[in-house]
């Protein structure tokens, strides 16, 4: 009668953590946090960030208050971004420094629970379907998770779930070192107990941002009201409430990441050969190779929580731009929440009445010869300086152009812009024109000299400024061609509902 409590006491002693002088302190969340979002370097400016897989990253800087005991201790940081790159972590603020910092990525799962409980005592719980009686008995796990479960009980050796009886394992505790998420921690030694304000910063995957320009073109096509959103998105599982938020434009180098997703392999319970007489298929009887043990897959599926937080209407909050080395930093002047799995927009810039030149243009190459007519491209040209109404860095992004003056907004087209520094010539292409087509014909080919004819047609009841860039070497024409950056440019004005023709020859090089 007395033996049982003694044994239980002995077991609980065994289950206690190792007798180490090391105490564990957990910092559950940051006191304040700053998030700087960097663009996906491999995304084209016009391409929208894929909210399901954001290829950019963020620098997360957290301030935390930690109570450090005297002696050796481990401080665990919880609530960090799930996409944190451990090798980029920086921890400052512990008065006596740290010994080492760690990221533990062995995660708690059905599989690791079983695997780490090898040769440990667990409880086997069986429920009788006939009577509802629940019986629990002690068992020791004798097999690893790879081939599934063999248990030692007082009766002998048994399998788990090969019997047709509802049965499960009940564990007493979570084995040491298994975490719900990859966890950052530091090991340190302090001569006195103290409270430290520490800064933890790291780069984290799963963020992106983009500029989204909205332009409204005046009826005469000479003035553009330009507005841009700073659209930033996170697919991280951690939300950062009231974060000081920045976005960086430019091209900081980031090496290809060997980011290893934490091991989330599922537990497969395999039984012995379960063939029955009703499952015999001709030709398969006794075929050992087809004798696959039955598998029960225990797995978890990730829940998705679309939590879009949009600030769609215009607000007086406008991002502030500053230089950061050879990059451009945009600061959102008020703390905002960078929520998990969400997208957020704030105003990036606004310029009214930018002087633009609206052109229709085409780049003409040999490959287009003798194909059908193609629509020419619409573009707005300007220069990024104060005299034109600009004169500020323009980060890359998508552009949508609307026409002003109509009773309701009319969208003229959409395109994309690369990064433009101050002073650069800016070209905003916004899609194919309607009713203005160009066609290149090869007229003749004699003595190595090819003659081409470029025909451009206009179905508008107004004249249209058009220019073609000829991507040919050794071009000659009777019509005078301009030279720009080593290329031949044909500029002309298309008559109302009419056409223009350029005949040119290309001699061999």
């Amino acid at each position: 009668m007395r033996a049982a409590p003694v044994l239980l006491a002995a077991m609980s002693m065994l289950a206690a953590p190792p007798a180490a002088a090391q105490s564990v302190v957990t910092s559950p969340r940051p006191d304040s946090v700053a998030v700087t979002v960097y663009r996906n370097p491999e995304r084209d400016p016009g391409e929208r960030p894929n909210l399901d897989w954001l290829g950019g990253y963020a620098l997360v800087s957290e301030t935390r208050t930690v109570v450090v005991p005297a002696g050796e201790s481990v401080v665990r940081f919880e609530g960090v971004a799930s996409g944190a790159f451990a090798e980029t972590a920086i921890v400052t603020g512990f008065p006596e420094g740290i010994i080492e910092r760690n990221r533990d990525a062995e995660l708690l799962s059905a599989r690791t629970l079983l695997d780490r409980s090898l040769a440990r005592r667990v409880h086997l719980r069986r429920t009788s379907l006939a009577t509802g009686t629940v019986r629990e008995q002690e068992a020791v796990i004798r097999s690893g998770a790879g081939g599934a479960v063999v248990l030692q009980t007082a009766d002998g050796f048994e399998s788990l779930r090969c019997t047709g009886v509802p049965e499960t394992l009940v564990y007493d505790e979570v084995p040491e070192g298994l975490n719900a998420r990859p966890t950052l921690s530091v090991r340190l030694r302090s001569s006195v107990a103290t409270t430290a304000t520490v800064t933890l910063s790291y780069l984290a995957a799963g963020f992106d941002w983009q500029a989204n320009y909205v332009g409204t073109l005046s009826p005469n096509g000479r003035r553009l009201d330009l507005f841009a959103w700073l659209t930033l998105a996170s697919m991280d599982q951690t939300s950062f409430p009231d974060a000081n938020t920045q976005a960086v434009a430019g091209q900081p180098n980031r090496e290809r990441q060997n980011w290893q997703a934490p091991d989330q392999s599922s537990l497969e319970l395999r039984c012995w050969q379960q063939g029955r007489t009703d499952q015999i298929v001709a030709g398969m009887t006794g075929d050992v190779l087809n004798d696959l043990p039955q598998a029960i897959v225990v797995t978890g599926s990730r829940m998705r929580r679309p939590e879009f937080e949009s600030l769609a209407q215009a607000r007086p909050v406008m991002a502030e731009q500053e230089n950061l080395g050879d990059l451009k930093l945009y600061r959102i002047p008020v703390p905002v929440t960078v929520a998990a799995h969400s997208q957020k927009q704030v105003a990036l810039l606004r310029r009214e009445g930018v002087e633009v030149r609206r052109v229709y243009r085409q780049t003409v190459t040999e490959s287009e010869a003798d194909e059908e007519p193609v629509p020419v491209q619409m573009a707005l040209l300007t220069r990024n300086r104060a005299s034109e109404g600009l004169g500020l860095p323009l980060p890359a992004g998508g552009v949508v152009i609307f026409a002003a003056g109509a009773p309701r907004p009319v969208m003229l087209g959409a395109g994309a812009m690369r990064d433009y520094a101050e002073g650069e010539e800016v070209e905003i292409s916004f899609g194919p024109a309607i009713g203005i087509m160009s066609q290149l014909r090869r007229v003749s080919h004699e003595n190595g000299i090819t003659t081409y004819e470029l025909v451009v047609t206009n179905d508008h009841r107004r004249r249209i400024d058009f220019e073609a860039e000829l991507q040919f070497d050794n071009v000659q024409s009777r019509i005078r061609l301009e030279e720009r950056e080593g290329r031949h440019i044909w500029r002309t004005r298309l008559p109302s509902t009419g056409r223009a023709v350029l005949r040119f020859t290309v001699s061999p090089s």
Binding site: A3, P17, G486
Partner: protein, 502 residues
Amino acid sequence: MRSVLLLAILSVSAPALAQITAEIPPPSQSAQGDVAVTIYNNNLALVQDTRQLAVAAGRNRIEFPDVSAQIRSETVTLTGAGIGIVEQNFDFDLLSPSALMQKAVGETITLVRMNPATGVETRERARVLAANGGVVLQIGERIEVLRDDGLPVRVIFDRVPENLRARPTLSVTVESERGGTRPLTLTYLTPSMSWQADYVALFDEAANRMDVQGWITLTNHTGTTFRNADTMLVAGSVGQDQPERYPDYRRNRPSPQVRAAGTESAGRERIGDFYLYPLPERTTIANQQTKQVSFLDAHGTPTTRGYEYRNDWLHGAEEPESANSVLNFSSSRAQGLGDALPAGTVRVYQRDARGNPQFVGESPIPHTPMGSRIGLTTGQAFDVKVRPVVVSRDRIDLQKWRESERFRIVHPDGTQTTGQRDYLSTMSFWETRMRYSLTNARPQPVTVDVYQSGLDQSSWSDTRLVAESLPSERLSADRVVWHVTVPANGSVDLEAVFQSTY
């Protein structure tokens, strides 16, 4: 309730459970002894594990649990006083329900049938005849297929065959002269452990200084935790060829990081050609862990920012391209970091207007000797751009080609030969006018190094620079560089004329 039930079990089969209890290790105990781990850069580690083991006189079979789950068993050596190795085994026949059933063929097992209506259990003994597809049993005089009717049946095995193991297990059979406990040292190689350096560089652009911290980052994906290990890192890759390098054809690709290799010896421990980085104290390297320990803390290293643009052939660009932004510093003792740098990644931070460090780019570096000149490309500048333009490419005649024909050979004795070369009349000659438009939107002047390569494509072609608007520096037969100063918020056009044969 539970203790009563437990007691009931105890009273039924006390000897069996007592045996179980004796074998259960406490959760944190490991069979590892005094562990020393040496980790190389190329996903390889050498583990030395000294265990105090009781060895009887004569032949012993010793098992070594808690070795790396990825152990390269062919590299194992065991040493100890007064023992000789008979054989070494690595058993990976794993214990599982199906293996258990296979090994039970011919043996007798216990069946516990449960009546689904009443829950009543009945026990009987059965002999396993076969386990091919289904399990065929002989019960008394009857032959049955296990659970052919789908009703619940528990199967209880009397024992587990000896060679079925929970995990792959290393065992060594030794011949010992005498009995007694003594230290035995197990040494083996394991993959899935590696390390690299991670550098945190805080660049102060106004002061042209940089603070650099170096961290050793080691990772353990062996499946095994090494407890309280004496850890040493070796800067180098052993026993493996260098990975093949693929040519990089990107436009304006970064220049190599080490511009001139150093010749100073760092004050660090060395074995052979390798630098060693011992961790200052013993540490536990957990499975799936990334561990970082500081090894370098340098302050105020003189550092300058430069810009580079590389044009690989005499071709133009469709639009202006950002120049590479480069940090130049040294690893020398006198003027730099003062240490050899193990290979890794340098992440550069700069303070923003509010004084918070922000990430401004990173660059890999190879193993770098002390005293090296280093140029790290951290990214491309938003405000500094270069656009190469082919202004014209025209055929020229032999006469014009000859006008630029001047060669000079300096002989070892100091005399010189100058002259002209003859060309086959079938060759064609070309003149290419290049313009490099440089723009700078920064409020300070910048100097951009513009590299033009592709001047020595092959032995039969010949390209020469015949005119230039700024003096160039000829770096090699293939490459020239111009150091172009672009004023604040300004632009400069660099022009050059090349003649080449085709």
